[in-house]
Symmetry: C2
Subunit: 210 residues, 2 copies
Amino acid sequence: MSETGLANRPTRPSADPTRERILAAALDLFSERSFEGATTREIAGRAGVTQPLLNYHFRSKDELWRAAVDGVFGELVEALVSREEGLSGVDDLTTARLVVREFVLFSARRPQLHRIITQECKADGPRMDWLVERHVRPLYQATTERFARLRQQGYLPDVPVEHLYYIVTGAGPTMFVLGPECRRLAGLDPTSPDVIEAHADAVCTFLFGR
Amino acid sequence: MSETGLANRPTRPSADPTRERILAAALDLFSERSFEGATTREIAGRAGVTQPLLNYHFRSKDELWRAAVDGVFGELVEALVSREEGLSGVDDLTTARLVVREFVLFSARRPQLHRIITQECKADGPRMDWLVERHVRPLYQATTERFARLRQQGYLPDVPVEHLYYIVTGAGPTMFVLGPECRRLAGLDPTSPDVIEAHADAVCTFLFGR
DNA sequence: GTCTATAATTAGATAGAC
DNA sequence: GTCTATCTAATTATAGAC
């Protein structure tokens, strides 16, 4: 996995608590309302500071967005890498199951990541360009390589790995990305551990069988 | 299916060509850029008219959005209903396969629908409220009822239908929702008939087995 | 570092001519 | 119906005090 670049990614350097509160608020609002829909005033308000302070800590709205995105992707990579590190000696199928499971759990914990990917990758643009090349491509590489190995071993149906990638990244996170809808529509709380477990089970059942 | 209200939905009344061009441009831009990200000036520009004309044909930006959304959902319901109408006497499993397949084909043809659902259902708001109650809930009802029947007959694994719903609405459209990303990342053209067919096959294999 | 005040830009909507 | 011109409000970013 190290050849694909997943592991050697920097964690954010700053530990300024104000800066961190701004980043957390920015991630929430950007992911819910999209880049244009989120206003810097509201981000500041949720972080408990005034709006011009964002321009002190970050050069622009755009740079604030990038910093917030770097944060969540760092968390995802950290979750996947540390999950896999605890599995030396375990067979490929079980490893894959557990990594996919970890991916679903992460998607439930931080649906913001998939919300932002969906917002920015619907159309070409400078933010999509940055997002794909910096963050999404390494994950795509690692994932499709894993799926290819599993398919060769007969653990997955004969489906091209590109399609498998979009099936898994769709089936896993969508319930959590559409959390408010899910609550209204299905009467399920997508933040409850039971629901999250059930969804991870469901996705793994379809992917790998019972 | 008629009890769930899928069939008795009005088709849009107007046939004014200018109005239709505005609606088409609005659907594209709203779905790519989100409600706030799409400007009425750009919608007007793509439709080949001036910005104030939108306020002549539609009371507000909000009403324009609703009209555009009514349009795509009308197309989806029309596609699903007419697909099923051509299948009297066919067994339940084959019918389900073909309806899911039709859903994937529609998602490839009109990814705008899922882009808009994703944008609006990430957070509660007046547009999510309207969208869910008017359009999404009837589809959710019809879909989960179908899945419940198939599960009883043993055609689907023992997974709660709510999870099945989010697995299918995630796995089917995501490749097309993220069309520009897919092109860059996987080198596949998600508008090409071959790719669309392959994805429909992959989703059906994933869902119903070979 | 964090604030108040404000500049510069841009958005959606309206008035009124044709 | 469609246009030009313009109003009002809201946005990001900057200046400068503390």
